[in-house]
């Protein structure tokens, strides 16, 4: 049996806005085993980043439990939280916006070490910074450079080095390669895979790019409007998607090959508002298979066996809509 590093139960994050309560994350359940990567995909605004931030307590959860190494971190006091921060880190999408422009590379990487008073001697700390730079493939000569002097790929390497500084067990990767050109993106993805092997890291990998997510993930969770609609291992997700939204999403990926012809499911309409969402399936308005019950009853994430979970009233029994 694999060891669970993280488990999230009925996690909710609601924001109060002028127009009403925004259900950004609305009752999400998942777990991540030690050393694995869980991919979190879904369209803009479905709640991926909010999930990542709430899991790290960068945002306070509205409701739910976050079990890390067997303990609910939402019950932690300040001191315990500080300890927890060392174990759980994040890498952001926009390497530029997330780095302080007035700090040198070495200062940026050293910051978490300073804040947590890891080293008493400056020499030891410099040694660790250099070691981290080498780990992520940054040339030592860049140690006194500023972020704006570097390209996006190198800036993302700084973000990764900083996330690794305190030897975390778990890293939330929030769209870490989305801002990068494909040739650089591939370099960073390979680096992350190497680091995972070397340090036994566990990742929550957030992205809207399904090819990238499939490449990096062991299991994948698909989100739609604050809820997980399907969760399974990556190959079953791609070979046998069960939720109508997953089916449409996967069919919409433009594949850079001309030898594959697929039936494309074109979804009608747009994603509805997350503010005060009505009861019923969140995908109701766009679903080809909707029935009356879907409008009135919210489908729960059901265990379909083989570690596959789907939230749809008619899984394996989809018939064209009558309403």
């Amino acid at each position: 049996m694999q060891e669970r590093l993280l488990e999230v139960r009925n996690l909710k994050k609601h924001f109060s806005t002028k127009k009403g309560m925004l259900h950004a994350v609305d009752g999400v359940n998942f777990f991540i085993n030690k050393g694995e990567t869980l991919g979190l995909v879904g369209e803009s605004g479905c709640g991926k980043s909010t999930t990542g931030r709430v899991v790290l307590r960068l945002l306070e959860a509205t409701e739910g439990e976050i079990i890390f190494e067997g303990k609910d971190i939402l019950q932690y006091n300040k001191q315990q939280q500080r300890e927890m921060r060392k174990e759980m880190q994040i890498v952001f999408q926009d390497p530029f916006a997330s780095l302080n422009p007035r700090m040198t590379i070495s200062e940026i990487i050293a910051e978490p070490l300073v804040v947590n008073k890891v080293f008493s001697s400056k020499v030891d700390m410099q040694k660790r910074v250099k070691e981290l730079m080498e780990t992520v493939g940054l040339a030592e000569r860049l140690i006194n450079a500023y972020p704006h002097e570097l390209d996006g790929g190198r800036r993302q390497r700084i973000g990764i080095a900083r996330a690794l500084a305190l030897k975390p067990k778990f890293i939330v990767q929030d769209e870490p390669v989305s801002a990068l050109d494909v040739s650089i993106q591939a370099q960073i993805l390979n680096l992350m895979a190497d680091l995972q092997d070397e340090f036994g890291l566990t990742y929550l990998f957030i992205s809207h790019d399904l090819s990238v997510v499939k490449h990096v993930s062991d299991r994948i969770a698909v989100m739609y409007l604050g809820k997980i609609v399907e969760l399974s291992d990556y190959s079953s997700m791609f070979n046998n998607p069960l939720h109508p939204y997953t089916q449409a999403l996967l069919s919409a990926i433009p594949i850079p090959r001309i030898d594959i012809k697929r039936e494309r499911i074109i979804l009608e309409g747009d994603v509805p508002s997350p503010i005060n969402p009505p009861e019923g399936c969140r995908f109701y308005g766009r679903c080809r298979y909707r029935q009356d019950i879907c409008k009135n009853k919210t489908p729960e994430l059901k265990d379909m066996g083989n570690d596959k979970y789907v939230a749809c009233h008619f899984t394996n029994n989809l018939k064209p809509a009558t309403v």
Partner: protein, 325 residues
């Protein structure tokens, strides 16, 4: 490729930007052609020169710092470089229209979408205000937005709908050539699928030729007939979609394919291109790709590769394919 029916022919086009840091050779000796009803994909990473090419065709290069230093752009057989401003204005938005890279900024926030479409219609066709609004409604419906929403403002639409409004504006004058600069990059995949589907249908309906600018080889496979791959201002490979995807020849093209995860296979590691994009004001000598190229030979740093037609309709700029003798 079908040479006598070319709608657009670009011959030896070079466009430079003269900046404080030096000269950026944004487009170098470009040769491309597009037949009527054909879609050409223009692919490349950041800074490759895609938008500059599009602005060059539209004759909208900001000058200074930009300057079209060489070449011809033949549209329906006539050189756009020789046209007067008045003639160009007639062509732009009438025969050639462009969807700009940042769609959200190309809509006017204080005008209804109907007014914005009608404005284009009125500019290019002899219709009165009522007829123009009717036509605007029709265009909205064509892009899948209810005609009843002509009086809505851009902020009342979602990102995908706004992009469809931009497409409606670009197509309102029924152009012969549509240049679309990353029209779906900012959109979610399911919305992107809607928009691409729509563009394909409209193109078929009106027999519009199109230049689709993108960095996504998946989008190209989906909608294009031909592809030109750009690197540091140069079209390094240019052929039909089938040949590009089944037998890419240039090491950079091969590298691009190696960098994208293949959704149909399981692979442990990607095969990225080593190194970084060159500094635009200091492009490497010889072949601009040589410092990153796994196949580079001694000569690659000294000699500029010529545009070689390795077989009919398949052009490659690489010294591996230049006859040694």
């Amino acid at each position: 490729m079908k040479d006598n029916k070319n709608l657009l022919e670009i011959k030896n086009l070079s466009i430079h930007y003269v900046t404080e840091d030096g000269t950026v050779r944004a487009v170098e000796d470009m040769c491309l052609e597009i037949g009527s009803g054909e879609t050409l994909g223009l692919v490349g990473e950041t800074g490759a020169g895609k938008t500059t090419t599009a602005l060059g065709i539209m004759q909208l290069i900001p000058n200074p710092p930009g300057k079209l230093v060489n070449g011809e752009i033949l549209f329906e057989g006539e050189d756009l470089l020789k046209k007067t401003q008045a003639e160009l204005r007639k062509i732009r938005g009438n025969k050639i229209s462009m969807i700009f890279q940042d769609p959200m900024t190309s809509l006017n926030p204080v005008m209804t979408v109907g007014e914005q479409i009608a404005e284009v219609v009125k500019l290019h066709q002899k219709v009165n205000a009522t007829e123009a609004i009717e036509r605007a409604k029709l265009m909205l419906e064509k892009v899948g937005i209810p005609g009843g929403r002509v009086k809505d403002y851009p902020h009342q639409f979602s990102g995908g709908m706004r992009q469809r409004v931009v497409i409606a504006i670009a197509l309102a004058c029924n152009p012969t050539l549509l240049i679309a600069d990353e029209p779906t990059t900012a959109l979610d995949v399911t919305i992107q699928a809607q928009v691409l589907d729509l563009m394909k249908n409209l193109k078929d309906e009106f027999n519009t030729s199109m230049i689709m600018i993108t960095h996504d080889l998946g989008v190209v496979a989906e909608v294009c007939d031909k592809v030109a791959i750009m690197y540091a201002g140069n079209v390094i490979e240019y052929t039909d979609v089938k040949r590009l995807y089944t037998s890419p020849k240039h090491p950079y093209t091969v590298g691009l394919f190696g960098s994208i995860p293949d959704i149909k296979e399981d692979e442990d590691r990607l095969k990225p291109i080593k190194g970084l994009m060159p500094d635009p004001t200091n492009i490497p000598s010889g072949c601009p790709f040589h410092p990153r190229c796994p196949k580079a030979m001694g000569i690659c740093s000294q000699q500029k590769p010529k545009n070689i037609e390795i077989e009919t309709g398949h052009f490659v700029k690489c010294l591996l394919y230049e006859n040694p003798k």
